[in-house]
Amino acid sequence: MSVEVVSGNHAAGYALSVAGEANRAARGASCGIYPITPQTEIVEYVASFPFQKSRVVPVESEHSAMAVSIGASLAGARAFTASSSNGIAYMVENIMVAGYYRLPIVMVAVNRTLGPPWNIWADQGDTLMLRDFPWIQFYAEDNQEVLDATLMAFRLAEDHRILLPALVAMDAFIVSHTQAETVLPDQSAVDRYLPELDLPHRLLHEDPKTLGGLAWPEVAMSLRLEIDEAMDRVDEVFGECRAAFRDVFERDPGGAIETLGTEDAEIVVVVSSSIATTAREIVKQRRAAGEKIGFVKIKMFRPFPERALREACNTAKAVAVLDRNYAAGVGGVFWQEAKAAFQGHRDDLIIQDYLTGLCGGDVTPPMIDEVIADVTTRDAETKPIWMTAP
């Protein structure tokens, strides 16, 4: 183990590489890679890693990057890639295929505004576009969480009770390009944490199967149902992955959500990704001043931790959801998910959406204060409120 000052991209590149290397005694690792700002450093890191049994394939598009990873995964290797923004949009068809093929591919995504207009800064719209696909999704707050969630993503995705791909997202530049003290676990520890990949449906000459051919409605629907059942098991298996992480790395990587002060909070601020760092500080300060305000960070977005969120808001009268994303004609995506989580459980609860920091805008401490002031005085919800830094 070493503690180094590295960027979020470096942490991601390191995690993908040591995870791939950890499969060297089995069928090795492989990935298709393609550059796009601001994730390029991740694939550069992977391309220069001294793997013992791996081939990194520099392809001509994101679409093919995922396609190579799909082929490698089907052949039983540990497969991964990284992308961002329009690159993810271009990759979408094969992202979908990786999910429906139940391949435990891990993708690190740097959340960047989808263009046009051309904008390279943080916005979660690229990965939230994938919310209806069979992918597990994590939103990491900082460099350490990028690394930890990526390692956990492999273990979770490859578990035979799950067999779903997983993505770990981080905010463009705010995390991807900011250097911070990060614990980088040794290869030997990662080897202990990640068992050799054993894909039950890998391509075998001795047992030839045709994957992805025609399936009548009843069969195709049963495959969807199996995905739903696997999603239902994520909560339990993720708990095991977290416990194993503590055993091997002697640190707690955190759960699907993180809470602060929710035991008595009347107002709860719900955030994700790097906005959490700012929001947590504000909530801490205001709690110290005696205010009953709570904080929830949603780290696992898919499957959405509905129950945990409801429990965290048990004493709340109003919830403020901050969304760095926008679904056209509706509002923030985390807000929609939160609304659905409380539907039929807490119909008295005010759940107000604040669209903050879209397209890379700053989310400043005064903005969090403004959100809290607004939600505290509310007696009803309104349409999502658009906010920019003063």
């Binding site: 298709g32 093919s64 000459h205």
Partner: protein, 311 residues
């Protein structure tokens, strides 16, 4: 409807034993007279003769419909359906892991002209540029057959399709020249009317590492509006008249012609397919263009001959 979810059909499905060792099993869903079915049979035979095996990567095309519906399959080898544009990239991933583990077996893309000439060309070009260790076989029926017969960039001039109801006005893309220009180790054309030549080229491909591209002229009675029994005769006429020359290219720098056309008039070739209308094909221009194309190939084969003999 209730708390008890239906039992997965997957778990209920009886296992289908793999009793047929051939690549394409009997009972597949191909139309009568389909050239692709013949090609798959010949591929299976060539693999068996070479004591080799393969994994198939098949993009959206009739080739994946051939498998039939789950839980049955017509394929006796591991087969994966890829997205339309991705066959060469998925195959590259599979071949990479095969090579990392030093395993046997070819990784073969089996793709139509739509997936090769059109939507998949960037992926194929990139795989060829990286010299991925795969065999890419395009069964070229000159049409989007699986969707009911639309024009592709492989459709020849004059052919009526559902999207060129007045006949296609553009030339057919020269995919062989494009692939040879990638300087891949081996590229060759195949005709099911010349089975010995077909098999020999498959074996050459098996024994040549790197990216190998094979272009097979694939009759499609449904799209060509021809009689199923005429399929082999039609592609024989295409070779004889110089419409579909049989040749090989090594590393984009050495050529060999395999069958000399006897310059049979292409009239019969056109007349036996109702996708071509009488009077709409300029026969003289077609014959001239075939002779010119063959002359260019012949010049290349004479000036830059392939020297060593392969399998």
């Amino acid at each position: 409807m209730n708390g008890d979810r239906p039992i997965s059909t997957l778990e209920q499905a009886p296992p289908i034993p793999c009793t047929e060792e051939c690549l394409l099993r009997p009972g597949n869903t191909n139309c009568g007279g389909c050239g692709m079915g013949v090609g798959l049979t010949m591929l299976g035979r060539a693999l068996a003769e070479a004591d080799d095996t393969c994994t198939l990567a098949i993009p959206a095309c009739c080739g994946i419909v051939t498998a039939g519906a789950f839980p049955t399959t017509s394929y006796g080898v591991p087969t994966v359906a890829t997205t339309f544009a991705s066959a060469a990239a998925v195959a590259a991933g599979i071949a990479t892991v095969r090579d990392l583990n030093e395993e046997r077996g070819q990784v073969i893309c089996w793709a139509g002209d739509g997936g090769t000439y059109d939507i998949g060309i960037a992926t194929l070009s990139a795989a060829a540029e990286r010299n991925e260790n795969i065999i890419y076989i395009c069964y070229d029926n000159e049409i989007y057959g699986n969707t009911g017969g639309q024009r592709s960039s492989a459709t020849p001039p004059g052919a009526r399709t559902t999207t060129t109801p007045g006949g296609k006005s553009e030339e057919k893309k020269d995919i062989m020249a494009i692939m040879a220009a990638h300087q891949i180790p081996y590229a060759a054309t195949l005709s099911i009317a010349h089975p010995d030549d077909f098999s020999r080229k498959l074996k050459t491909a098996f024994n040549t590492p790197g990216t190998r591209f094979l272009l097979m002229h694939s009759p499609c009675p449904t799209g060509w509006k021809s009689e199923p029994a005429d399929s082999v005769e039609l592609v024989r006429l295409a070779v004889a008249s110089g419409l579909f020359p049989l040749y090989e290219v090594w590393n984009g720098s050495a050529w060999r012609i395999n069958v000399e056309p006897d310059w049979t008039s292409p009239t019969e070739y056109f007349q036996r397919q109702r996708r071509f209308k009488d009077g709409e094909i300029d026969l003289q221009a077609t014959e001239r263009s075939c002779r010119d194309q063959f002359k260019r190939l012949k010049t290349l084969a004479q000036e830059f001959p392939h020297k060593t003999e392969e399998g």
